[in-house]
Assembly symmetry: C2
Homo-oligomer: 644 residues x 2
Amino acid sequence: MIKVNFTSNNKEVYCNKGDSLLDVAREADIFIDAPCNGNVSCGKCKVKLIKGNVDTEKTRHIKDEEWEQGYVLACNTKIIEDVEIEVPSKLSSSMHGMKIEGSDNKKDKEIFDRAKKIIEENNFGFKTNIEKTYIEMDEPTLDDNISDIDRIERHVRNNLGYDEIDFTLELLRKVPQIIREENFKVTITYAKHKNKITILNIESGNKEDKLYGVAIDIGTTSVVVCLVDLHTKEVIDKASSGNAQIKYGADVIHRIVYSRKENGLKELNEAIIDETINPLLESIYIKNNINKDNVVSLVVAGNTTMSSLFLGVYTDFLRQEPFIPPFLKSPKLLGNDIGLNINNNAYVFLAPSVASYVGGDITAGVLSAGIWSSEKNVLFIDLGTNGELVFGNKDYMMSCACSAGPAFEGGGISCGMRASSGAIEEVKINKETLKPTLTIIGDNKPVGICGSGIIDLICQMLITGIIDRRGKIHRDINNERIRFNEYEIGEYVLAFKEEYNLESDITVNEVDIDNFIKAKGAIYSGASVLIESLGMDFSVIDKVYIAGGIGNNLNIENSILIGLLPDIDREKFVYIGNSSLVGSYLALVSEDAKNKLKDIGNEMTYVELSVYPTYMDEFISACFLPHTNIEQFPTVRSILSEQL
Amino acid sequence: MIKVNFTSNNKEVYCNKGDSLLDVAREADIFIDAPCNGNVSCGKCKVKLIKGNVDTEKTRHIKDEEWEQGYVLACNTKIIEDVEIEVPSKLSSSMHGMKIEGSDNKKDKEIFDRAKKIIEENNFGFKTNIEKTYIEMDEPTLDDNISDIDRIERHVRNNLGYDEIDFTLELLRKVPQIIREENFKVTITYAKHKNKITILNIESGNKEDKLYGVAIDIGTTSVVVCLVDLHTKEVIDKASSGNAQIKYGADVIHRIVYSRKENGLKELNEAIIDETINPLLESIYIKNNINKDNVVSLVVAGNTTMSSLFLGVYTDFLRQEPFIPPFLKSPKLLGNDIGLNINNNAYVFLAPSVASYVGGDITAGVLSAGIWSSEKNVLFIDLGTNGELVFGNKDYMMSCACSAGPAFEGGGISCGMRASSGAIEEVKINKETLKPTLTIIGDNKPVGICGSGIIDLICQMLITGIIDRRGKIHRDINNERIRFNEYEIGEYVLAFKEEYNLESDITVNEVDIDNFIKAKGAIYSGASVLIESLGMDFSVIDKVYIAGGIGNNLNIENSILIGLLPDIDREKFVYIGNSSLVGSYLALVSEDAKNKLKDIGNEMTYVELSVYPTYMDEFISACFLPHTNIEQFPTVRSILSEQL
């Protein structure tokens, strides 16, 4: 056995000669970001060899200077003897998001207000089918010696008007002792059905006030958990972190591939349940002094792959033509079924998916955006790890998925990160000095750049003439922030390490820009084909809702300028943030909204872009800044007159 | 740590100084019969000290000769140094029933025929709500790319006529791979509801023929498992063994007391599920080449305590006034909920209980006996570990429980055993020589005596003048088979060890006889008070059904002679064996019968004997052979003229 000492993590583990360093790190639960899942293509898993020799190769991701310092790609390195390895902190949890972040009260308020509006506008009941009631039963005597369960049922029948009660075995086991703790005075939490109720929890004494639910958005990159008081329907707290599945791949395809490995599916399921959602819930419970048994309802929205992995369901057929998802509608689930850190009998509901690549995050998003009740034509764009689009109004809704990749959430960008503390979210570049002015989330020192920052950056690089319309850096610029490596790949320095006392410079290179252009091209061409397929064009759009974890400060003007969004009236654009979370919140607090969500799942049409012959051409044309055909961007034309 | 070597079991274990030998044996999973659960009162846990010293005391259960040989009571012995212990084989599984016994084809046939008659007479459907159907679905294409679950649902809707399908998560996880094994040709097993079905199993290809259910009778002493083909409704096989909970006490009270110990409830639950039912099922599966996943329905009948322990539900309030059971009606259960060795999604149904001491074994027994449809007055007597009685007809049914103790199943009798291989089931004593003629189950050498044998024996001892009407052995008899120990307790030798090459003599002593007389007195006086409470007497009885594990060769004449059964026309008596098993079989194969069983649970009245002022007097009068008041036994009077 060979010893591997991860010095930065204070962890020593043993492995066999020839084992991959990335696999060894994963086994040891050491987080190394590897979006391409070990394909030696993304270059993100760069670690530093401190001591010993390894079997590795220099790749284009490693600069000469780094190579001399001992940097290697973990996925491309085999262990051959005892070694010491340092995992740069930017690869570890603080950057890639396993740090739990708390609530932003202002944002919570907005979510709540926006959701309330949807409920009011549609005359939905602001109520769920879950209730909590304190009951005082008669104590048993020799003359009144019915069973404990029959006593509860009799009381329910006589006082609450339901004929029957249902119990899980787990609750039944607790009943005899709990009902005697305070002399047959108990509080029951129950789901109401037609003429019967299902008891979800039973507590001694009067505990009527404590009744909670959780809304969750499971993104491929980020996960947000939102604790709700089911009496007042108020958001009590919110917490978010990265999706711990990231270590198995940045996008759904890499994860599906990983799920086919031995135990892969189980590891992915544990990553989302045990390593992401449960710690988020725990942090919220501790902060707000909540007992998990009082959390009796949970609504989850995630894309089709995330929904499947959340349940530990085999996903590989999603990836293979004809791309068949295992399920779309939520099966009936209790908290216990999937090991969630909530009441074991809690009701768990998944927002329905529409197809393999249009999932519950989109139906939930559409629910919260209100397209289904809109007289006007709405384009809904979700800039998540994948890009999904919905176009329609109250009469029809068409959806499609664009293979945008994870660029909008920082994936596939060498210094990319999700829109969390330390992320550069706005960039302005001085035309003379080419020096950037950065706005950083949390006003901390910069760690990386998130989606809205990249949009700004590319737009500014284009306007200031650093890059051309193909995204290539002009070779003739002489500026300390522009440099080229041995492979002739150019990069722009957003932050020198000396400026902010960082471990290394924060840079964006031509490969990153190329990745981003492909992503924005996929979205634009997807929207274009989707609307064209109905015989219309962008002029019919009345409203564009932009959702996703791209960052709150999405600059619409810049987004149009680089050709991510169509060049139409700016007034029509609204950034609606995490609409998936808002949608799951709605389904959590309103049974009517939950039913509407089910309808949306059934009624939305899925358009498979890949079968549209024009799609590939449209995509290639869109992989330009803003577009090969500048006619489609009339207002941009004048701004970019210098570049044309 | 001190070493205890159980030489007869080839097991060495370690314990602390001062630990009870019985506890150490239990920890080591060594079966030592201890019906009184360590109260030093039954004397059954006698083991032999081979080497080393222990802290123990001689009790009345240990003869001088045994004491010299090293016999001690395990419950009354503390370990103080390394010892070697021999557990006599009669204490181990072969006698007390953990040996699994197979099916008796003739008996199975009888069960089946009797049940069939009940179904026919009442125009019940001989069908369940579970079906198994082979389906051939369309394979998915890019144009027909609905999800796997939706594909199954669509096929079910179009071909089987149900709108919806329900799945457990466990099945959902398997679906994508299973349906592709044979190109979307699968066999689904499902429970039918109004307009939807719940899928219980899914297999690739056509497996329509394999569809099984299990009926179980959980007795306090014995457990019988019956495998049924749900297509033909035929009994395929049967297996029985003792209830492994016996090691924690012979009767329900001792077990309830044990359940209050730390982990006690868990141990009792594991004893019935993991140590009794699952091994029985496994033995049947192997013998008949059955896959457990094809066992999709299970019906269990047991008394109220057994039902609770089967589910692991806290039982202690059953034992405390006002004697409240946790539940009566079966909760909704799947095989997985209780760790049964059947399909995880199998439906599990418990025969309903009526009160704390009239359980599902009685409602199932009453179902199979057909009292609920009888024009005539029926007395139903269950001679199990407890005694339960039902009296009634199609208009009403009254039930009560008698604290008969376990004597009818061999408990509380020093050489008693259940009616299984090696049990003496019939006894005749030669009036001159006092030598017995024994009929032994399985024609093996005798191991002990079962209920029917004890009835015969006591009757014969009475007729031959060995005992008087109080059950005391006449002190003036001079015969090698009659002897008295140092405490002046008399005993009769049924089998000298030399006669059959046994480890020790098989004897019945005055304490045993006294225990048995109390048991039969409890039954007789219970029946008497139950019928009296309606203002009637035994003369109104048209039929007496005798159920229970007392043995197939119950001698009615002898039972009347000793005052167990009332002295009425012998033609009225029918021994119906394990009616609880027959009842659970009925509920398994006929949904109508299952519904009737639920009705019986709701409609039967429970009479609490202890509140009847006359019951104690009646009981004391009945603790005589046949009764203090011989007038109640007119036909016995002449037979016993010598003794009167």
